[in-house]
Amino acid sequence: MLLELKNIFKWVNSGGQRIFLLKDINLSVEEGEFISVMGPSGSGKSTLLNVIGMLDTFDEGEYHFLDESVHTLKEKYRSNLYKEYIGFVFQSYHLLDDLTVYENLEMPLLYKKYKGTERKAMVGDMLDRFSIVGKKDLFPAQLSGGQQQLVGVARALIGKPKLILADEPTGNLNSQQSEEIMGLFKRLNEEDNVTIIQVTHSEKNAAYGSRIINLLDGRMI
């Protein structure tokens, strides 16, 4: 088992009332799964993804990730944990505008203390794998949206994570670009056994996954 959420609650207090963002979420994810999270706006999809990604905290419940009890870990250990095992892909890519493709890919490695030669090899490997060697010196603004997201996925993968969290990865892309990215996810999942959890609005994209989770008002239905 890769991770397990048990009775997760998350709420905010607003005007004396408790508003639940997540309500009694129970979810276990095996390694190699490809899960799609669906639901209307405000149903808690992104919140759930953030909780799984350890970027956000929750108020009640237990979260186990690879035998670690996340809910008891201190912030510092939590961030070490996600740094090590989780890669993030964003709807608006979040590439750094001032860095080239190469530098964007290299950045996560800098924070993981890889040596220069190792970094070079890993970035080169990733450029090869995604066939973007020719674009390595370009800046994000010089790429199309699809290409930017390609770099975004490559960046998420470069640290060899066990889990990829993607928040509407195709939300800003046209249909052809969407298909390419989803195809990529599928290959990664099947060939490299990378676990993927994606948030999506589209039934078509959700169909790429092996399991669909539906959320409504913070509750799994």
Binding site: S46, N50, G53, L55, D56, S79, K83, F88, F90, Q91, S92, H94, L95, L96, M107, P108, Y111, K112, R155, G159, D167, E168, G171
Partner: protein, 791 residues
């Protein structure tokens, strides 16, 4: 509409309290400094201007080529015949007066006190304007038995009663009748006095008036529009008097005119009547004022641009709702105006509040009144409005150009806007701060050096009394013995000069080995045998004066090393100099400020009263139970010389006085360094805040990809450290150049080394690091999901 602008402007300012607050502080601080310095400059420029003929009054001074004294051969003095001769010989001279100042002992109703006397001929009032309150002016000066006093002196000693007809005893032997009262003088005059009387009452007045006896000062009035350089040349005709008068001297005197209004700032020659300043301080002050004002207003612009990025949504919405470009500009201008006027009012209040402290800091006496400053305040208001508009207009234009569609999406027009301008500004601000920091450190080191350097004499545990009473001299030995009775008093010496104040100089042309017509200018002092012991001076060769050698009092002298060196002697003891025998050579000691080199000194035996020179009792004492000891000194002096107030001073305090200007210079630099650093930090803060807000997404991305908080803080500080590094690189040569110029004034000085620059650079880096670090830390600590939230 205006009301709405101001209302919304006010709300905006209170909404962003932090920004408004630092903005207000920065601008208020800058403006207060500017106002204070403006007051200072106005005060300096107004010296001696209250005289009706201020533009036409000239002082007649002289050059004695070859007679170098304390670094210059120019003297502010004149012989008594000079003014009357000028009036008689040159028709363009409308009026001419001879005057001199002296601190004298007065006695009113058995109450003795010292007061500053102005001794003059009756023409004083033809030249200067001293408004008379009661009595008579010119007439009073014709009668040597009359005196004119100032209002404050009258109030102090006669109370509310009319002082006219009352008597004042001058120097215990002359009874003067008060004939007039003049208004108190403003402080901004190059000389001041408590009373005026005829120069016939002057201590050194004598009937015969030689052209080479320069005990007076001469002032004349020339016609409107007359070029005084013409008279300068005509005065060469006075050679007929000076040449014979100076026949026995190796130099002669040439007269020149100094406009009255230039004396305070452009003169600085020997024997000035009061403290003078230098125009270079005015320029320095003006540049500092302008720099600080600019820094402050630049900051305003800087912070306003930074805030524009936060406010793009607001502006976008205003535009969508139909606001015209001009209305957006007006809104921003209203805020700028509001803030500027607030800080201006605050700054004006602060300036008056800090004026006494400022006076103490720079040693000035700027009055606390508002009336005389009205024109300056008006000018400052105009400058304030102009700068307020200028600093508000750029951010206003920037904001009004925002595209509402983009702005509503939270995207600002262009993140690069104004960045290079603002980088430049911050570099400039830090460069200015680092230059000031370098100056502070160098001034501190030089003063430290002055304090630590071996003076060649001891200035601690010495109390001295300065006296001018000639009848004192006869009782010297009795007083000395009486003083020594006290167990805490170790040694006493009677001397004509103390080492902090050696003003007596002479010219000697006879010495062993002088074959031709050589002569030497040499400082001179007359002492008793205890002098060297009290001041702990060391003998390099020979012996001190001694009572065992009765001939010492008439035949022997001591020379210092500098004198022996100048004479070209290898040994001195046994040789003759000025008709006397050299019995010892004293190690060089600093009897002048460190700005001047140690010059030749001859020390003679004090065997008779030399009324022309000052007289001192210097007492070496133990510091425990000081009060008791000082009371003993007072008691002894009062017993032997009753009815005369004595002023006991500590030698080390007088020594500190010598370097007061330098100390003030240092303090001023410290203060302005702090102010400039503070303002620079505010500028930096504005820049950092904008950068951080622009890059908050990037921070989020980096954090999600594994960056630690330290990584983020470092990333930002590194960028800004580059700017500070650039500032340091610019500042070092400027600071080095400026301080090298300042140090050149000292004959004894430190050499600047690299530690100064490293220290100043560290200060700049440290302050910048803290500012940037603190601001970045808050953002770096934020949860990235807040900054990365998808719209």
């Amino acid at each position: 509409m205006l009301y709405t602008y101001i209302k919304i402007g006010f709300r905006n300012l209170t909404k962003n309290r932090f920004f408004s607050f630092i903005n207000l502080i920065g601008m208020t601080l800058g403006l207060s400094c500017f106002i204070l310095i403006a007051f200072y400059i106005q005060n300096e420029l107004s010296y001696d201007m209250q005289h009706e003929n201020a533009d036409r009054i000239y002082r007649v001074s002289q050059i004695q080529s070859g007679n170098e004294f304390q670094g210059t051969d120019r003297f502010a003095v004149a012989p008594r015949p000079l003014a009357p001769t000028l009036k008689a010989q040159f028709p363009e001279v409308e009026a001419a007066t001879t005057l001199t100042l002296d601190e004298t002992l007065l006695k009113i109703k058995d109450q003795p006190f010292y007061a500053q006397g102005l001794f003059s001929d009756p023409y004083l009032f033809d030249v200067f304007t001293y408004p008379l309150i009661v009595g008579m002016a010119k007439e009073a000066l014709k009668d040597p038995k009359s005196v004119i006093i100032t209002t404050s002196l009258a109030k102090k000693y006669f109370g509310e009663a009319s002082p006219l007809g009352k008597t004042i005893l001058l120097e215990q032997d002359r009874l003067l009748t008060v004939k007039g009262v003049v208004e108190d003088l403003p402080k901004n005059q190059h000389f001041s006095f408590d009373y005026i009387t005829s120069y016939e009452n002057y201590r050194y007045y004598d009937e015969s008036s030689s052209w080479s006896s320069n005990n007076y000062h001469a002032y004349i009035v020339l016609p409107e529009g007359y070029d005084y350089h013409l008279l300068n040349e005509k005065m060469d005709a006075l050679d007929v008097y000076t040449t014979p008068a100076y026949a026995q001297f190796p130099f002669t005197a040439e007269y020149f005119l100094q406009p009255l209004k230039e004396i305070r700032l452009y003169s600085n020659i020997n024997f000035e009547l009061g403290p003078v300043s230098d125009i270079k301080y005015i320029y320095l002050a003006a540049s500092i004022a302008i720099i600080i004002l600019l820094l402050a207003f630049i900051n305003y612009t800087n912070l306003a641009i930074a805030r524009t990025s936060y406010r793009s949504k607001e502006v976008g919405l205003q535009k969508v709702l139909g606001a015209k470009k001009r209305q957006v500009i007006n809104q921003f201008m209203a805020e700028s105006f509001l803030l500027t006027s607030c800080s201006f009012i605050l700054a004006l209040a602060l300036a008056f509040l800090f004026l006494p402290g400022f006076n103490a800091l720079i040693g000035s006496e700027i009055p606390l009144s508002f009336d005389d400053k009205a024109p300056v305040v008006f000018i400052i208001i105009v400058i304030g409005i102009v700068l307020g508009v200028l600093s508000g207009i750029y951010p206003a234009l920037l904001s009004s150009a925002i595209n509402p569609a983009k702005a509503l999406k939270g995207k600002w027009l262009n993140s690069k806007t104004g960045i290079s301008l603002r980088n430049t500004l911050v570099v400039g601000q830090f460069a200015a701060s680092v230059v000031l920091a370098i100056s502070s450190i160098v001034v501190y080191q030089q003063l430290n050096y002055v304090n630590k350097k071996k003076l060649g004499y001891n200035k601690d545990q010495i109390v001295y009394v300065h006296y001018k009473q000639t009848d004192f001299y006869a009782k010297n030995n009795v007083i000395k013995e009486a003083l020594l009775q006290h167990p805490q008093i170790k040694k006493v010496t009677l001397t004509n000069n103390i080492p902090t104040n050696t003003e007596d100089q002479t010219i000697i042309d006879q010495w062993e080995g002088n074959t031709g017509d050589q002569n030497i200018q040499i400082y001179r002092n007359y002492v008793d045998p205890d002098y060297l012991d009290v001041f702990e001076m060391e003998l390099e060769a020979g012996r001190n004066f001694s009572s065992q050698f009765p001939t010492d009092s008439t035949e022997s002298i001591l020379l210092n090393e500098a004198a022996v060196k100048k004479l070209g002697w290898s040994t001195a003891v046994g040789k003759t100099f000025g008709g006397r025998k050299v019995i010892g050579m004293v190690k060089d000691f600093h009897f002048q400020p460190f700005k001047l080199k140690i010059e030749p000194v001859v020390i003679g035996f004090r065997s008779k009263l030399r009324s022309y020179y000052s007289n001192y009792i210097a007492i070496k004492l133990e510091l425990n139970d000081l009060e008791n000891t000082l009371n003993h000194v007072k008691g002894v002096l009062n017993t032997h010389i009753p009815g005369i107030p004595f002023d006991q001073r500590f030698m080390n305090e007088s020594y500190d006085q010598l370097y007061r200007t330098e100390k003030q210079f240092g303090q001023v630099f410290n203060t302005f360094t702090l102010v400039a650093l503070f303002i620079a930090c505010i500028g930096l803060l504005g820049l950092v805040t904008q950068k951080v807000s622009e890059r908050s997404k990037e921070i989020g991305v980096r954090k999600v990809l594994g960056a630690s908080i330290a990584n983020i803080v470092l990333l930002f500080t590194k960028d800004f450290m580059r700017l500070v590094l650039l500032a340091v690189i610019i500042a070092i040569p400027i600071g080095w150049w400026g301080m090298e110029k300042w140090l050149q004034d000292f004959a004894y000085r430190i050499e600047m080394n690299w530690t100064v620059f490293v220290l100043a650079a560290l200060l700049g880096f440290g302050v910048a690091f803290i500012t940037v670090g603190a601001q970045t830390l808050t953002t770096a600590n934020k949860n990235p999901i807040q900054t990365l939230r998808e719209e």
